[in-house]
């Protein structure tokens, strides 16, 4: 089923630089393989929360590349703040992962 995301959230001043990699096929519904056309299957919604408050509510089409990346910047962040990411795809599959904001390099 849905596999863990890789989330990096690092503090740059008072902003958290958030970089998210997700494992998802993001099938357009037009790709052909030896066994036929692969059905459309893609993440439609990604919600990013900062300490429980939604900071980004994304809607995607099947044009987002496979194994998607999402980068954003969260204002007013502190070390240890929780960044939580939830995606939902067109089949209703979901995945939620969470990290704490860490010190930037």
């Amino acid at each position: 089923m849905a596999e863990p995301m890789k989330i990096r959230a690092t503090l740059q001043g008072d902003t958290a630089d958030v970089r998210i990699l997700m494992r998802h096929p993001m099938e357009t519904g037009t790709r052909k393989t030896a066994t036929g056309v692969v059905p459309v299957h893609f993440i439609q919604s990604v919600i990013v929360e900062h300490n429980g408050k939604t900071v980004l509510d994304a809607q995607w089409s099947q044009a987002i590349s496979r194994d998607p990346f999402l980068g954003l910047r969260v204002k007013g962040a502190k070390l240890g703040d929780k960044i939580s990411v939830t995606w939902t795809d067109n089949k209703g599959d979901k995945r939620n992962d969470e990290v704490a904001v860490s010190a930037g390099s």
């Binding site: 439609q44 900062h50 900071v55 496979r66 209703g92």
Partner: protein, 155 residues
């Protein structure tokens, strides 16, 4: 029904249609707390219809929007695109790859807790203008950048 079905086929041009329709139904049940997926905008084949779906009218060209993307993408399967909006009170950033079968690729609602910045990767079938639409204080702003797509590989 027949007519409807034909329209559907025309829309998404392939066997994925039935699945897409079924999926749209599933979605409603699955994500009560997220804003509903903007079906009309995402399933538009024309840029104008996608804009209508977003409610974007009277677009204002803005230099406060920066599109960071390669001039030439080596591989249309994974084209990195980042949008930065310096427009105060940016509420939404949407990305449109104008020549894609469904031009609207992504739409981000941005709360006050987030900077006007998003970065994603998009599939692009061919060289195309990439358009950013920014909604701020109820107005719609736009910027555009061409990304050349060359077919990768030596085949």
């Amino acid at each position: 029904m027949k007519q409807l079905r034909r329209n559907f086929l025309k829309l998404s041009g392939g066997a994925g249609v039935a699945a897409a329709a079924a999926a749209a139904g599933l979605l409603k049940a699955g994500s009560a707390w997220a804003a509903p997926w903007n079906k009309s905008a995402f399933e538009s084949k024309a840029v104008a219809d996608a804009l209508k779906g977003l409610g974007a009218t009277n677009l204002i060209e803005s230099k406060d929007i920066t599109i960071t993307a390669p001039d030439i993408a080596e591989n249309g399967a994974i084209v990195p695109i980042a949008i930065t909006s310096k427009i105060p009170n940016t509420q939404n950033i949407s990305i449109i790859a104008e020549k894609n079968p469904f031009p609207l690729a992504a739409s981000f609602d941005i709360s006050a807790g987030s900077e006007g910045y998003v970065s994603v990767r998009v599939k692009m079938g061919q060289t195309s203008d990439v358009r950013a639409i920014v909604k701020a204080d109820g107005k719609f702003y736009t910027a555009v950048k061409e990304v050349k797509v060359t077919v990768g590989g030596c085949g």
